[in-house]
Point group: D2
Chain length 358, copies 4
């Protein structure tokens, strides 16, 4: 193993740039090394930092990060579609495509863990000098011509998660969708709803910076959840319960709120991650007493080259402007802790920060 610089979680609320991150000397025949050009920290990185990796303690002392684009510096002998010098989007999940899960249509449920890969157990995230990926042909995607780095780095998690959620919500033409939580994933979900044919789109949040982007993305109704009775007001404005709900924020109680505005026969997609251990409670009445044909899906980020390529294609064709999410820009790996601090400070002007590796 060689050593390299990386942005490491050193403890609770403590992120440091260290130079002892491990880099393998050899790569798998299907593998590749990528030199990052741009990074974007995510709420989940901040969560790890804030808790000192409470839920994943083996991560302490390792690099974080899973949203990155860069340039290939090395490829294995069995990589066919990528070459040194190619500019690529790197998957934030790492589906293993030679797996029964993949044959079952759920490749993402069997992963080469981002933080401790199969043939690289000590690696951490991608906020490092060189990032190793085990199956380049399957889990990288080219950045199409005309797509900027800032756009591309919104693909691996922001778009891949929100659009996967909307794919599974599957609203019909002209149906109403409520997006509960309009941080960066929620805002992408607003855009995804519009691009899946939704008519009315309720964007439920509280910060003006987010409402502004929601509107640009096509939300028809901006709702502040601090308003008492905002659920009733959504149902009233819509002329009845909504056709679909997508949860992009909030705690275990949010699911019940979502169900309470959802029509019988409708679907709720959850994009939240619940590591806290608190039970999610469903009030039977809002779930149609169990027989109202309300469906609840707990959805994770979609991964793989094809899905990322299709997201990139949406950008290239002008369907999405994901760079609207970016509120803060930095230069140099050393600025990653400063960017991370925005999350820890709950900065109300923040949607997404990016850091250029230059």
């Amino acid at each position: 193993m060689q050593s390299m610089k990386g942005a490491v979680i050193a403890g609770k609320n403590k992120m440091e740039i260290r130079d002892n991150c491990p880099l393998p000397e050899e790569i798998a025949p299907t593998g590749a090394l990528i030199r990052p050009e741009i990074w974007s920290p995510c709420t989940s990185d901040a969560h790890l930092c804030a808790t000192g990796c409470e839920s994943l303690p083996y991560l302490v002392g390792k690099a974080v990060g899973h949203e990155m684009c860069g340039v290939i510096t090395k490829v294995g002998s069995d990589v066919h579609d990528f070459q040194v010098g190619d500019r690529v989007i790197v998957c934030s999940v790492m589906p293993i495509w030679r797996s029964l899960e993949a044959q079952d249509g759920h490749a993402k449920n069997r992963q080469d863990n981002m933080y401790s890969g199969i043939d690289y157990p000590d690696r951490g995230g991608s906020f490092v000098e060189k990032y190793y990926i085990r199956d380049a042909d399957m889990n990288l995607a080219h950045i199409p011509e005309g797509v900027t780095l800032e756009q591309a780095v919104m693909v691996p998690d922001m778009m891949c998660t929100a659009f996967e959620g909307m794919r599974q919500l599957n609203p019909g033409f002209g149906e109403t969708v409520a997006v509960l939580g309009i941080g960066p994933v929620g805002l992408m979900a607003v855009r995804a709803a519009v691009l899946h044919g939704a008519g009315r789109v309720f964007a439920v949040g509280s910060r003006q910076v987010c409402f502004d982007v929601a509107q640009e993305y096509g939300a028809t109704d901006l709702v502040d959840y601090h308003n008492e009775n905002y659920i009733d007001s959504i149902v009233r404005a819509n002329g009845g319960p909504v056709d679909g709900v997508i949860l992009c924020g909030g705690g275990p109680g949010e699911l019940n709120k979502g169900l309470s505005m959802l029509k019988n026969g409708g679907t709720l997609v959850n994009l939240n991650v619940y590591f806290g251990g608190t039970a999610i409670e469903i009030d039977p009445a809002v779930w149609g007493f169990g027989y109202g044909d309300k469906t609840i899906k707990g959805v994770g980020c979609g991964g793989g080259r094809l899905w990322m390529s299709r997201m990139a294609q949406l950008i290239a064709c002008g369907r999405v402007q994901p760079e609207k999410l970016i509120t803060h820009r930095y230069h140099g790996m050393d600025k990653i802790p400063e960017a991370m601090q925005l999350f820890l400070d709950h900065d109300r002007s923040l949607i997404k920060p990016v850091i250029y590796n230059d």
Copy 2:
């Protein structure tokens, strides 16, 4: 209004045959009157009786019942496909087919309530001398030649519910399905799983009379839920979590059990009804922390003529022998309270009783 005899809930644990049940003198042009030939009480009837209609207090003093087959004695002028004398299966739910819900594919979510119909607010259930139905062409089905009354009366709720649940569970060929709870609906779900291509079918219950039928219906593994660690033992026997779970019994805690044996990417269908008000709790870990692509569907009984006809067709073609569910047989309306008592006594030899109206 005329008066007629019916089996009425008189109070807590108290069912009486009374002769003051109302019968309308006129029927809608699309309506029909049916003289029952066979009835079958359901757990939900028993639940109403046991609680004295706590959850639906307007039912006290009205007739109960929703599983019935009979002979048409009168049809409205706008009924096209049914005539006086036809032997029919009567829907246990009453979808309104001229509704936006029907256009949305969810007709059953807009009903002409069984117990208090649109143009007949005082009616009760179908354990009466004559039962009125508002839309004969849409909510009755002919009993096909060769299908017996005992088979036919299992259609309206037992089959229509279990097969609707399995339709929405949608297991693939050779997949594993676990049926939690093997009362009559659960047993039908076992058969439905086999007829939807399932390979291994785990039937989870506790009574021998039910295990016997489960095996005849094609269950491959009979599991007693009194065994400690029965969930683990299912997962171990299956070589991993199951592909689909259907809940056909148990309280609010059952859902969590179902999720804990379900694969990521799998579906759980709930056929239970939760009137108690107790919250349903989901432990995030068994739900893949919210992002394991596990889907939860709360499904109600399917209704309408076409669905009932297709159930009847399955019987006529020999795919299902629903009469295997029937453990107790009575004759005469006066015996309905006695049949109901089997439920109230938790008789361990009971699956389903029927009462012939002769």
Copy 3:
């Protein structure tokens, strides 16, 4: 029967305004009468006119037309959601919602024929003074506030057909769709593809007036089918066969062309109507020799109040500007023949004409 004025096909290439169109004195309890405010002739009307109703000879002497919006002048006693004075969109197909086809999810395959309704066998189309509809609650839709007549009259056929086709094509996010034929339905299909998440959209046509609207609707590639090898050039530009194809024009040979640019595993939706009797020929090689998992769907216009309401909702929310299709505007029923002549003359500036009833 009363008499009224209407635009009638008098023979081959001959349309006349006559005053002997029949109007029923009574209407069904669920029925309504509508006074048209705006009409739009369709290619299929023109086809009837050009051929003298060769394929539907009983139409000679009857009014034509199926794209109309107007004001309700009379409602039956059993109409609940519409009143005299309401401004409505009138369905171009007339699904019968109390039917087994509706219960089967295919209501549109059982219709109260537009030209010879169940209780009104002599009626013709809606280019008359008063139009009768048998089931107002199910087959009319309110025009939402802010939606203009010109927008609304594009709903019954142009939007309802194209969006139904795209619903069944069901492209995924970022996939490529080719629209073969960009007359008014094809242009709407371009917009529907964008609103169903398509990335690249190839619009294949020949007239500049259509290419201009295609581009405004979001087509990324404009292809003239007069170019030799335009199929190859689409496949090359796309980097391989396309994910979905929708046919919105051309003769029986078009299907083969569509299949030849479609990927294995892809879907082709046909929106063409083939009355000519000429066989549609499929070259096995372009269909993957029968085993390439290429799906072919022959799709008809979607109908009913909910579908129309959702189309109207898309307009109200700013997702579609269907008025961009309208190239010619007239006033007064007497101008209908002149508008029809545009089709018969193959006027290259025509997309859609409308006639205001004022």
Copy 4:
């Protein structure tokens, strides 16, 4: 390359056992070698033989065959789930799971060609002493305990094709399915229809030996296609057009026959292969003039370990008895030409032959 014995197409109607079939000395790290225990020739093998490989001329002089089970004799270093000595079912198609097609859900549309694999261009089929497979973990399946060789060898093509067709036909509970052509794949389709919940199943064929098995598999109606008007008689017996049709035999004209008995809104699955070059003709009227919502799918054999395992699971659970298809049994590779001759002679007692390698 080493040499080995194999059953080779030597020319038109000429099959020989030769000893110069090539066997690679090395295998890929993910690869395996299998020593056959049982083979089954297929109509398509016979077709190649009868035509002297007209459509695939590079096959002359190579071994044929794609239905085989055997014992693993060698595995590559990167094979995880299989060991030397394991008894396995060998895929008849060879999906490449590290491919964009696999990520798109269509792995089978990108194959390591059975007859000329990626790293083994000279190989032929599996009627040889040792068969090489490139991705053992993904394209082999274990033979479950209790499943016989005769059962297992029906999996790779007979079951994998017929059940894949039925999966895509996707009939609902109680619906009617017509199976046109009841050779071995058609018979499996009959069973698959029953196991997908079909009610009435029409089996259309002409030979008694096939009708007998169709009945044992659950067909309700046996129809001889020599009867004039057999299509009308099916529609009449069913009380209307059928819900689904699956083509398992016949020439390019069969598709039109299938469509003519199919309801509007129904689906036809084609399992035939059309190498002849003759166009498939669709009469617009039987296709609902292009707008009757009739769907046509051209489906190929499903492949991969999971699909085969699920087929094997159906056998192990007693859902299917595929050995009923086997009418002729031989021993020793030298008998393969004799078995093949049954097809060339159109032996009316033949459904499927097997040859044990002993």
